[in-house]
C-alpha cells in the first residue's frame, strides 16, 4: 500500500477515534426524551408517504395537530412521546411501521391512501398496535380506524369562490395523482364553479406526483398564460410550485390567484405586493388527529370504524382569505345549504 493512502487512512482513523470521545460528553443530554415521557401509556407516531411534514399542506396539518396534542399532554418529541417518520420509497412503508412498533409506539397514523397495503399487513401482524389511516378505508380490523374526508364539499366552495372571483371566466385545477381521493377534489371544484358561474371554463391538469413542484409550476405557468386567473391545487407539496408560478405572473402584472388546499395557505401566498391566496379549502386533519388521540388515550379507540368528516362534522372547511364580502356571503350560504343537505356534491368528475 502506498504511503499517502496510509497517511490518509491514519488521519481518518484518528478522527474516527477523537469524534466519539468528544461526542460522549453530550450524550446524556440528547437522550432524555425517553425519560421525560416516562409513564405515558400512549406513544403516537405519524407515518407520512413520500412527502414530509413540511409540505405546507396535508401532512403538515396532521403533524401540527399531533404536536399540539403532545404538548397538551406534556410529552416531548421522541421515544415514548410523539414523532413522525417519512419514507423515501414505497418499499419503506412496512419497514417504518415495524421500526415504530419495535420502539413501542402504540398508535400510528398513516397519512395517505398509499399506505393502505402496509397498514393492512402491519395491523394483521401486530394486533396490539393501533392504526389510524387517512383518506382510505381498511375494513374489518379491530385495530384499524379509517378516517376519510368529504373533500368534495370544501372543493365545491373553493370552485365557487374561484369562479365568482374570475374576470376571465377561466379557472384551473392542478391535481397530484389521478385517483379516488383527488377525484373528489376535482369533482367538487368543477361542480362548484359551474353552479356559481354556468359559462365558466375549468382547465383540469394532473402533475402525476405529489412531490414534483417543478412540474406543477410549469403546468401552472401554462395555465396562467392561457388566461386562467385562479388555480386550485390539490397536489401535496407539488402545489408549492403553483404558488411560485403565480408570484412570477403577478410580477409581470397579471392579477392571478391560487386557491390553497388542505391547510390555510395564506402564508404561502404572501408576496411583496400583497397576498395571492384567494381562499383555502381546509381539511382539518389537525383536529381529527387530536380527537382520535384523545379517544384512544381514554380507552375508546374507534377500531373497525370508518369515520367520515364533512362540512357538517367540521372535518372540512373553507377560509375567507382574500375573498370579497359579497362572495364570502354567497359561500357561507352555500356552505349552510350543503350542511342542510340541500346541495349534494358529486364525488366523481
Amino acid at each position: 500500500m502506498n504511503k499517502l493512502i496510509k497517511k490518509i487512512s491514519l488521519a481518518i482513523l484518528a478522527l474516527g477515534i477523537i469524534i466519539p470521545l468528544s461526542a460522549c460528553t453530550n450524550r446524556s443530554a440528547s437522550n432524555n426524551s425517553e425519560s421525560q415521557n416516562k409513564g405515558n401509556s400512549l406513544a403516537v407516531a405519524l407515518l407520512t408517504d413520500l412527502n414530509g411534514v413540511d409540505d405546507k399542506s396535508f401532512n403538515q396539518s396532521a403533524w401540527e395537530g399531533l404536536t399540539k396534542w403532545g404538548k397538551e399532554h406534556n410529552l416531548t418529541k421522541g421515544l415514548g412521546g410523539y414523532d413522525y417518520v417519512q419514507s423515501h420509497q414505497d418499499s419503506d412503508y412496512p419497514v417504518n411501521i415495524n421500526k415504530l412498533i419495535k420502539n413501542n409506539y402504540n398508535l400510528i397514523y398513516a397519512i395517505g391512501y398509499k399506505l393502505d397495503k402496509a397498514v393492512t399487513d402491519g395491523a394483521k401482524q401486530n394486533p396490539n398496535t393501533k392504526f389510524a389511516i387517512i383518506d382510505t378505508v381498511v375494513p374489518d380490523l379491530d385495530n384499524v380506524t379509517s378516517l376519510t374526508f368529504k373533500d368534495n364539499e370544501s372543493a365545491y366552495l373553493a370552485g365557487m369562490s374561484a369562479a365568482l372571483n374570475s374576470k376571465t371566466k377561466k379557472i384551473g385545477f392542478i391535481g397530484g395523482v389521478k385517483g379516488e381521493v383527488i377525484n373528489r377534489f376535482e369533482a367538487g371544484y368543477v361542480a362548484g364553479a359551474k353552479a356559481a358561474v354556468p359559462d365558466i371554463q375549468v382547465d383540469v391538469k394532473y402533475v402525476g406526483a405529489f412531490d414534483k413542484a417543478d412540474v406543477a409550476k410549469s403546468i401552472a405557468t401554462a395555465m396562467y398564460n392561457n388566461g386562467n386567473d385562479a388555480i386550485y391545487q390539490a397536489a401535496g407539496s407539488a402545489g408549492l410550485g403553483v404558488f411560485s408560478s403565480a408570484k412570477d405572473a403577478r410580477k409581470s402584472g397579471k392579477e392571478v390567484y391560487v386557491v390553497g388546499c388542505d391547510r390555510d395557505q395564506t402564508e404561502e401566498g404572501q408576496y411583496d405586493g400583497g397576498n395571492l391566496t384567494l381562499t383555502s379549502s381546509i381539511k382539518a386533519l389537525n383536529t381529527v388527529v387530536e380527537e382520535v388521540s384523545n379517544e384512544t388515550l381514554a380507552g375508546n379507540f374507534p377500531g373497525k370504524q370508518h369515520k367520515v368528516f364533512g362540512l357538517k362534522e367540521n372535518g372540512v372547511d373553507i377560509s375567507k382569505g382574500q375573498l370579497s364580502t359579497d362572495i364570502w356571503n354567497k359561500v357561507e350560504q352555500t356552505k349552510q345549504d350543503i350542511i342542510d343537505g340541500k346541495i349534494t356534491v358529486p364525488e366523481k368528475p
Binding site: 440528547s30 421515544l79 414505497d90 395523482v177 389521478k178 385517483g179 379516488e180 377525484n183 402525476g208
Partner: protein
C-alpha cells in the same frame, strides 16, 4: 496480484470510513450526537431479525442492478438505464403473473422472472443496437429510456392493471410470491424473500461468465480496446449488443424479483426507482467484481434500512441522515480520486528515484 487485491479492497474501505467521519463532523457541528446516530444506523439495519430481513431484502435488487451495470462497464459502456430496465422487469413480472394467475406457483415464478429478464434485456438492447449500428451515445439513450419506462409503466398500470381509480395494480396470488411463511417467521414479519438466493447465485454465475467464458472474454476485450478486438476477429457489433442486453437482463431480473418478492404488485411511481441508480454506485464501489457487488449491496442496503431507524430513535432529523448517506456515497464515488492520488504519488516517486 495479491498486493493489487489488497489495495483494491483498501480504497473502498477508506472511502466508506471517510464518509462516516465527515458525516460525524457535520453532525457535531450541528449539535447532533454522531455516536447515537451511527448506533441507530447499525441497530436499524442489523439489530433484530426483522431489520436483518429488511436489509437483505433491500440488498437483493441492488445486487442485480449492480451486476447489470458492471457488465456494461466491462464492455466500456455506461449504462445509466438500470432504473428503467429494473422498472420494465418489475412491470412485466407482475403483468405476467396477473395475466395467468391460475398457473402453478413454480411456473408463475419462473415465468415472471423470465418475463422480467426479457423485458429488461430488450429495453437496454435498444440502446445497444443504437450504439452498435448508429454510434448513438448510450448514456443519452439509456437516460431517455428511463423516462419512457417510467411513464409507459405508469400508463399501463393505470389503464390495464389497476382496480378502478387506484394507482396500483392488484396484488399477485400467494403462489407466485417469493416470500414464504417460513422466512416471515424467521425474520419476524419482514419482507425478506427467496430473491436474495437467486441474486447470489446469479452473482456467482456472472463471476464465472466474465472470467472464464468466451463471451466474458469478448466483452472485456471490447472494453479494453475495441479496435484491437475487431482486428482479432471479434464482431464488435454483436458483442456490444450482447453486453448491453445482458446488462439490462440482469437489471430486469432485479425488477422481477423485487416485484414478486417485495412489492407483490406494481404502483404508479413518481420517479424512476432509486434502486437503479444505487446499483450504479454499488458496482463502482465494488470495481465491478461480482462478489464485491454482493457486499457493496449489503452496505448500501444497511445504509438505506438503518437510515430509516435514525429519526425514530434519535433526535437527528432525517435530512441529516440523508446528508450522511449521500456523503458516504460521494466518497465511494470519489474513491477514484483516492486511487488517482495514490497512482500519481507512485509515478512521482519513481520519477524521483530515476533522477
Amino acid at each position: 496480484m495479491s498486493k493489487n487485491w489488497k489495495s483494491r479492497l483498501s480504497i473502498p474501505l477508506i472511502s466508506i470510513l471517510a464518509g462516516f467521519v465527515l458525516g460525524a463532523i457535520i453532525m457535531l457541528c450541528l449539535g447532533y450526537d454522531p455516536i447515537m446516530t451511527y448506533e441507530a444506523l447499525f441497530t436499524g439495519a442489523w439489530g433484530d431479525p426483522n431489520s436483518i430481513g429488511e436489509t437483505l431484502r433491500q440488498a437483493t435488487p441492488l445486487i442485480l442492478t449492480g451486476l447489470g451495470f458492471s457488465v456494461a462497464t466491462s464492455a466500456g459502456f455506461f449504462n445509466i438505464g438500470g432504473a428503467g430496465q429494473y422498472l420494465v422487469g418489475w412491470l412485466s413480472s407482475i403483468w405476467f403473473v396477473l395475466s395467468f394467475p391460475s398457473l402453478p406457483g413454480v411456473v408463475l415464478i419462473t415465468g415472471a422472472i423470465a418475463a422480467g429478464a426479457i423485458a429488461g434485456g430488450i429495453w437496454s438492447g435498444i440502446a445497444g443496437v443504437l450504439r452498435a449500428y448508429l454510434k448513438t451515445n448510450e448514456v443519452i439513450t439509456t437516460i431517455m429510456l428511463n423516462y419512457i419506462a417510467l411513464y409507459l409503466s405508469n400508463w399501463i398500470v393505470k389503464s390495464f392493471l389497476a382496480n378502478g381509480d387506484a394507482d396500483y395494480s392488484k396484488s399477485i396470488p400467494q403462489s407466485a410470491s417469493l416470500r414464504s411463511p417460513f422466512l416471515m417467521e424467521l425474520t419476524n414479519n419482514s419482507t425478506f424473500h427467496y430473491g436474495l438466493f437467486i441474486a447470489i447465485v446469479i452473482a456467482i454465475i456472472m463471476a464465472f461468465v466474465m472470467k472464464k467464458t468466451t463471451v466474458g472474454y469478448e466483452i472485456r476485450s471490447i472494453g479494453l480496446n475495441s479496435d484491437a478486438s475487431k482486428y482479432a476477429g471479434m464482431s464488435t457489433k454483436k458483442v456490444i449488443i450482447l453486453a448491453m442486453t445482458l446488462s439490462g437482463l440482469l437489471a430486469g431480473i432485479g425488477g422481477a424479483v423485487d416485484g414478486i418478492g417485495n412489492y407483490q404488485n406494481i404502483l404508479v411511481l413518481a420517479s424512476t426507482p432509486s434502486v437503479g441508480f444505487d446499483g450504479l454506485a454499488v458496482a463502482l464501489l465494488a470495481y465491478g467484481n461480482p462478489i464485491g457487488i454482493v457486499f457493496a449491496s449489503l452496505l448500501f442496503a444497511s445504509l438505506k434500512i438503518g437510515g430509516l431507524n435514525i429519526p425514530v430513535v434519535s433526535n437527528t432529523p432525517s435530512e441529516i441522515v440523508d446528508i450522511v448517506i449521500a456523503l458516504i456515497i460521494f466518497f465511494v464515488g470519489a474513491s477514484y480520486l483516492f486511487e488517482y492520488i495514490s497512482k500519481k504519488m507512485k509515478t512521482n516517486k519513481s520519477k524521483g528515484g530515476k533522477a
